[in-house]
């Protein structure tokens, strides 16, 4: 770990920040001072205080506790949706790169998905399925599929043309062996870096969905939803929307810092737009 990040202060700072968040979120049941759903109407809309570190919301719920629990949902969605994109996209990319006959159809299908504006695609998916955590994971994950597919396909094509892959094929290595022994390890670094950046993107997209009222169901705690519910109080109680908003910002920033560090370290070139 130390050698991986040596001399990259931003990445180290990002990692530290990320670790703090992840720890806080995972330990929420032990750290959170209150039940995130507990409403005390008499204590509504209070600013930060010793009793409520980040203040309370319109229902008198403790925002600090909700940010901690909400992180479980927000970060969980981001991780699982990237995983979804990675697995589905990766398999499609592998297939397209490895089996020539699949290449055309799969990549055209990916083009179709890519030419859908991302936010609209997510909105459509959410409206078709019922709002809920699983739906958000799918809606957000679908967007990453084409990018992963392209990337893995590209890696496969490069590896295939390498002498040792050709040699492996010539001596009759099985498809599975070629894939697991040569292709997967070689495409791992770019995929790892890209996944990190994609996590950041997916946190934002999931938050957008919640913000538009299409994501997590109230009264559940999720950062985007919390910003959305608090935005009406911006004038008289800005902390209600700002605290979860800053949490999103800080985590995405930290992930991006770590991603940058990884990219420099692994010397991976990515198209920023991917």
């Amino acid at each position: 770990m130390n050698s991986l990040f040596r001399g990259r202060y931003l990445a180290v700072a990002g990692l530290a920040c990320l670790l703090v968040f992840v720890a806080g979120v995972l330990l929420a049941p032990w750290i959170a001072p209150y039940d995130p759903q507990r409403q005390v109407i008499a204590e509504r809309l209070q600013g930060p205080s010793a009793k409520h570190w980040l203040g309370t919301d319109q229902f008198g719920r403790d925002i600090f506790s909700r940010v901690l629990y909400g992180g479980q949902v927000s970060l969980g969605i981001a991780l699982l949706s990237v995983l979804l994109g990675l697995v589905v996209g990766g398999l499609l990319g592998l297939g397209a790169g490895y089996f020539r006959r699949l290449d055309g159809p799969v990549m055209r299908a990916m083009d179709v998905l890519l030419s859908f504006p991302a936010v609209l695609l997510a909105i459509m998916v959410v409206t078709i399925l019922r709002p809920g955590i699983l739906t958000v994971i799918i809606a957000v994950g679908v967007r990453s599929i084409p990018a992963f597919a392209r990337m893995v396909r590209g890696a496969v094509l490069v590896v295939r043309s390498l002498p040792y892959a050709e040699a492996a094929a010539a001596i009759g290595a099985s498809h599975l062996r070629t894939i697991t022994r040569t292709i997967v390890p070689n495409s791992l670094p770019p995929v790892l870096v890209f996944s990190t950046l994609q996590i950041a993107n997916n946190i934002l997209l999931a938050a957008i969905l919640s913000y538009l009222g299409l994501g997590i169901q109230p009264p559940g705690a999720e950062w985007g939803l919390m910003v959305s519910q608090g935005r009406g109080w911006l004038r008289d109680a800005p902390h209600v929307a700002m605290m979860p908003g800053l949490a999103i910002f800080a985590v995405v920033l930290a992930v991006n810092m770590v991603g940058d560090g990884l990219r420099d370290r692994l010397d991976v070139k990515l198209k920023e737009s991917a």
């Binding site: 409403q39 509504r44 319109q58 229902f59 008198g60 709002p131 009222g213 109230p218 935005r231 008289d236």
Partner: protein, 528 residues
């Protein structure tokens, strides 16, 4: 280099400040600018039931009759009307001095054309009783009904969602499906005519200088006092409040309750409250075995603390309900009588009822019976409803009942509750009379009767209200029905909301209607 940079910076700062100065300009003196959160999409009366359409139609069109804020019918395009002894034939005598915006004179032919077209439209349920419309002469029109009903007059009043507003039949013929869509096609007889329409953004209206047939309950029956009206769509509530504060609009008809206390204290602004004719409620799905036991439903009613809801959801801008109907709704029961019948907040009683029904607290506090948890869904279709349901969820939790919230979009909600997949659902109800009870009769299954409750008594009461020609009997039947609803826990009444309207001090003589907000804007004016 550095000097040049500094110069540029200074220049841009100066420009910004100058800009800011210009920004304080208010709305034009001759225009009343109204903010609303949604946009109109079709201005043919009768086509569509969305509120922005209806509100604009109130200004553009007139009907034969119109109800005032107290629910009393007044002549409008009709000077007077007669009903035959058997209640089947209604004859309306029209004013003969009414002109459309197009300059054409209004005749009985226009009235017949609209009712004939309306009969083919989806909103025709309102005039289901109408058999046919005949033109007697230019100023006389006759309706023949299939069955006698007192409700007919309400249904063809403009107050009934403005469906009965009479458009220029020539224009409707000329533009066909484009009528009400192209700004130039729209021609009514109302106090304002459409001069511009940018979709999803704004409707511009100018007063009709020839107008002199305003209803008697306005001080002014002639041309409106404001020269122009602009209805602007601003979706975000915080942005609307800010627009009002910055004088970008004169009036926010759906002011955010969150900003209302601050704006009420702001110099130059006012917050006007007007009770709404509401019957909001959480309906039980009576088909669900879990909710078949009246004691369980009653317990869920006793668990509700409406004061907390008013505070947390409406920021204080609502009133706890006693019984289903607001006291401004025709057919409501006297509150004193209702208070004795309708369950009010009493968690101890709620727990006792659940105990009696055999629901005993489990290890996590949620009650169990025969291995089943007291757990059910609660549906809603807006952010505010979800907020309300999350407070209710907490209150139910206190007595050991668990609920899962489902906030859907309206269309998806409609599909779900029609199919009956909900256990409970919040429903907004706004209506001038208790005729809204048609929601709960057997033949309204599966929708809008989402209580899924086909009840012989309810149908009998409703039948009386629709067929009797004695107004006293009609009211009595409505009151009996409401009491029956409360005794047998058909639904849980929710707080009555109100119009929370923010205006600048420049808006004077604004009259508000319990259902339709700003209504026809005949008296309102704008001071300097």
């Amino acid at each position: 280099m550095r000097a040049r940079l500094r110069f540029l910076l200074t220049l841009s700062l100066t420009a910004t400040v100058a800009w800011g100065g210009a920004a304080l300009a208010a709305t034009p003196d001759d225009t009343l600018v109204i903010g609303y959160n949604r946009a109109a999409n079709n201005l043919h009366p009768g086509v569509n039931a969305s509120l922005p359409n209806i509100w604009a139609n109130m200004l553009i069109y007139d009907s034969l009759v119109i109800h005032d804020a107290q629910g009393k019918a007044h002549p409008a395009l009709a000077k007077r009307w007669e009903v035959s002894k058997d209640g089947l034939v209604w004859t309306f005598y029209l004013r003969d001095d009414v002109k459309f915006h197009s300059g054409r004179k209004l005749t009985a032919t226009d009235v017949k054309a609209h009712f004939d077209l309306w009969k083919t439209m989806p909103t025709a349920t309102k005039i289901a009783a109408l058999e046919k419309t005949d033109v007697v002469n230019d100023t006389t029109v006759r309706f023949t009904l299939k069955n006698p009903t007192l409700v007919f007059l309400s249904m063809i009043s403009q107050t009934e969602w403005s469906y009965s507003g009479i458009p220029d039949s020539e224009a409707v013929k000329k533009y066909g499906q484009d009528y009400g869509v192209l700004p130039e096609s729209i021609s009514g007889t109302g106090p304002f005519k459409v001069t511009g329409w940018v979709r999803n953004d704004r409707i511009e209206l100018a007063r009709n200088p020839d107008y002199k047939w305003g209803p008697a309950f306005y001080k002014n029956q002639g041309p409106a006092r404001v020269e122009k009206v602009m209805i602007k769509t601003i979706t975000e509530e915080a942005a609307r409040s800010a627009a009002l504060e910055r004088n970008e609009i004169d009036m926010d008809i759906s002011l955010s309750e969150k900003d209302a206390p601050r704006l009420a204290k702001t110099k130059g602004l006012r917050v006007i409250l007007q009770p709404k004719n509401t019957a909001h409620h959480i309906g039980f799905n009576h088909d669900k075995p879990l909710l078949k036991d009246t004691r369980v439903r009653l317990a869920l009613m006793y668990a509700i603390d409406q004061k907390a809801i008013v505070e947390a959801v409406y920021n204080g801008y609502a009133t706890p309900s006693v019984g289903l109907w607001a006291t401004t709704v025709e057919g409501h029961s006297p509150p004193a009588e209702m208070a004795k019948i309708a369950p009010s907040y009493n968690p101890a009683r709620a727990r006792q009822l659940l105990d009696e029904a055999g629901w005993k607290p489990g290890s996590d506090g949620i009650r169990m019976k025969d291995g089943q948890r007291l757990s059910f869904t609660a549906y809603g279709y807006s952010e505010q409803q979800a907020n309300l349901l999350s407070v209710v969820q907490q209150q139910w939790r206190e007595i050991g009942a668990e609920s899962q919230l489902r906030q859907l979009e309206y269309a998806a909600w409609q599909k779900a509750v029609t199919a009956g997949e909900h256990d409970t659902s919040y429903t907004d109800g706004t209506h001038s009379t208790a005729d809204l009870s048609y929601w709960w009769v057997c033949k309204s299954m599966p929708y809008p009767n989402i209580l899924k409750r086909c009840d012989e008594a309810t149908d009998r009461y409703f039948e009386i209200t629709q067929t009797t020609l004695d107004p006293k009997k009609r009211i009595q039947a409505f009151q009996d029905m409401e009491k029956d609803f409360m005794r047998r826990a058909a639904m849980i009444p929710m707080p009555h909301t109100q119009w929370v309207v923010g205006t600048s001090d420049r808006v004077a003589d604004l009259e508000l209607h319990p259902i339709h907000g700003y209504f026809k804007l005949l008296d309102a004016r704008k001071t300097k």
